[in-house]
């Protein structure tokens, strides 16, 4: 009898403990690693500590590409997470999946489950990048970066350059001086993203037909047809031959390393790169990416948003979506937005976050963080704030494949750009067939 009672007591206590721990689980998959991955885990922990109904479980899947492939594979197997981080180049694919019931748009979610963050609370440029053709925000803005110019001020001081270049013309004028002092004047880490996509946005030029894919499904890219773009790469090639620009292969890190080690004066990278550089390189600044004065006539235009957004995936219970809504609300709060901005260098994505930053004089304390908001917040662009072109990850691959032989002088600039156009047109056509 005693035994029976003790078993009964044990069972009852189990029932209670499991009850108090049975929180609704929400799975969030992401494609960041290292420090950025740690921050994501920290965000989830903070949310989990802030309430005890729901539990967000973050899972890192490797790179952006890996996470997207994993999410798609999981969806096809009926085992998808609730929330997944998909990068800029995959945005067209994700937006197109709303009609197939794969993705639930933010605004639909907000309406249904009452998220206390309005879509209009997100910065317009960022909101539009992840919106559908009607301007409805689909993806939830998260880590939004753009390309920036990092400058090693010690080198510039040594060479006697007082101001960082605003334009490529200015850069060209000072490059020889830097080279003569034994430094690499310029490096950049992502030819498709920085010197293709964002070349077009920075100069207010259309990159594809169909108004960058916002009006019609794009059929071709406008690389070889854009005079300024041909001019830019002709110049880059010339710089490469003179040693003004040093190409270190395709890997992001190989191009960043010489700058971080103090061997290069300028490096173009992501706004989120500064975290790894702070404390390593003693005296550097973050600046807007240069533009060709001769192309824009002295005007500056905003670049596209880079980085990724989080996407809500279909196929889960109402209770779980309620929890996700709470989580989205939590992440959209000014405090969390500013926390993320501060930790990573990614842009603050909400108006509330920016207001809070102003209020506490955040940018005076940390001027590094300023450039990203300034560059993204520029006005006057007549092109859309992004591009909606499918198969874009492969088109980036095509761009890479042609940049190398062009720099090596195996093919001319015109030939390389028309090769890119041809390759891209085929991939765009292929994508259009699946719509």
């Amino acid at each position: 009898m005693k035994k029976l009672i003790s078993i009964f007591v044990l069972l009852v206590s189990f029932a209670f403990t499991s009850n108090s721990y049975s929180k609704t689980e929400i799975h969030w998959w992401y494609g960041n690693s290292g420090f950025l991955g740690d921050v994501i885990i920290e965000i989830a922990n903070r949310f989990n500590d802030s309430q005890d109904e729901y539990m967000v479980i973050p899972t890192g899947k490797g790179s952006y590409e890996d996470n997207m492939a994993a999410t798609i594979a999981a969806f096809r197997a009926g085992d998808q997470p609730h929330y997944s981080q998909v990068y800029d180049a995959g945005a067209a694919i994700m937006v197109a999946q709303v009609k197939n019931g794969v993705v639930i748009g933010f605004e639909e979610m907000a309406e249904k489950y009452g998220i206390d963050v309005d879509a209009d609370n997100y910065i317009p440029g960022i909101k539009n990048f992840y919106a559908d053709g009607d301007g409805k925000m689909i993806g939830v803005p998260f880590n939004s970066s753009t390309c920036l110019m990092y400058a090693n001020m010690d080198i510039l001081n040594e060479v006697g350059i007082e101001e960082v270049p605003k334009t490529y013309e200015e850069f060209e004028g000072m490059a020889q001086k830097i080279l003569d002092a034994g430094y690499i004047p310029l490096l950049q880490s992502h030819s498709p993203w920085i010197w293709t996509e964002n070349f077009f946005s920075r100069h207010n030029l259309l990159m594809t037909d169909g108004n960058n894919g916002y009006d019609d499904v794009p059929t071709r890219t406008l690389f070889a047809d854009t005079e300024a773009f041909v001019y830019h790469w002709t110049k880059v090639k010339e710089w490469y031959e003179k040693g003004y620009y040093g190409y270190k292969g395709r890997a992001w890190g190989d191009n960043q390393a010489p700058f971080t080690n103090g061997e290069a004066a300028f490096w173009f990278g992501s706004a989120a790169s500064f975290g790894g550089m702070k404390g390593v390189l003693p005296n550097f600044t973050t600046n807007p990416i240069p533009y060709w004065d001769s192309v824009t006539g002295g005007k500056e235009y905003p670049t596209f948003i880079g980085g990724a957004a989080n996407w809500i995936l279909n196929g889960h219970t109402e209770e779980e979506y309620k929890g996700l809504a709470k989580f989205i609300e939590f992440m959209g709060s000014p405090e969390m937005d500013l926390y993320y901005h501060n930790m990573t260098g990614y842009a603050a994505v909400t108006k509330g976050g920016i207001e809070l930053a102003e209020k506490i004089n955040f940018y005076r304390a940390s001027p590094y963080h300023k450039a990203v908001g300034e560059q993204l917040g520029l006005e006057g662009s007549t092109i859309p704030g992004g591009y909606r072109a499918g198969n874009w990850p492969q088109i980036r691959e095509v761009i890479y494949e042609n940049v190398e032989p062009m720099l090596n002088g195996d093919i001319t600039v015109e030939k390389a750009l028309s090769n890119m156009d041809k390759g891209a047109a085929k991939l765009l056509k292929q994508f259009a067939k699946t719509l």
């Binding site: 390393a257 492969q394 085929k426 067939k433």
Partner: protein, 292 residues
Amino acid sequence: MKKVQFKSNYSQYFFLAPQLLILLIFLYWPIIQTFKDAFTMQDAFGFGSQFAGFDNFLFIFSDPSYFTAFKFTIIYSLVITLITGSIGLLLAVQANKVIHGKNVYKTLLIWPYAIAPAVVGVMANYFFSERYGLLYHLFNNLWGFNWYKDVFDAYIYVIIAGSWKQISANFIFFLAGLQAIQKTVIEASIIDCKSNIRRFWTITFPLLMPTTFFLIIINITYAFFDTFGIIDTTTIGAPGSETKTLVYKAYIDGFKGLDLGSAGAQSIMMMIIVLFITIFQFRYIEGKIHYN
């Protein structure tokens, strides 16, 4: 010999079932799925799926980088087969002669075989890094080596990375082959011929032919399929797309580019290529080999 008789007509299926099930799930199902993908056009999530006929095949044949990958894969597998086979054979013959500490040599030479290709690639990365690579700087001083600019240099990079580990595999099999040769044959040949080298080419090597044939197939298959991890951790296909193997290209298009139709068509092309190589080997090479 008495035949074993089973009473039931079904028990054999019962015993075969686990094996068949594994084959079905891990072999036949993916193959059928690949065929399905290759002949359909669909978006990444599998929607909008429609029969596409040979569109996916036409698509890859109109892609110049597909032919680059084809060319590289052929060159790569031939060079790797040749290098790993000849160095493996040389090491095996020498190790077979060693009398003292034979096992130490053997063990040390077999070790690299246990290393995963991706790890080999990461190690090669250290040797060929522009910042701190020993081989990079050695070669760079000799002839201005730079693998992300020069196609030939990139070839050297991936060939060294790809061969290193496979030499061990060749070594093991050649050593086993050498030890399987009967002592009497060797002793008889010593009486007939004094020249070591001549004896090797006229007696030992012909007796090793079954091993050699086996290794050629293994090496080609290795270079075709298993070097994926090495390419992904070394050149990622640069410069241009010159060092992409067919498998690597299918991976990039299928998993990074999310174009399953094209990746499926590429897989089928690969199947056909391997089929042809194998048929060729069995028809024209195997006939010249004497099994005991």
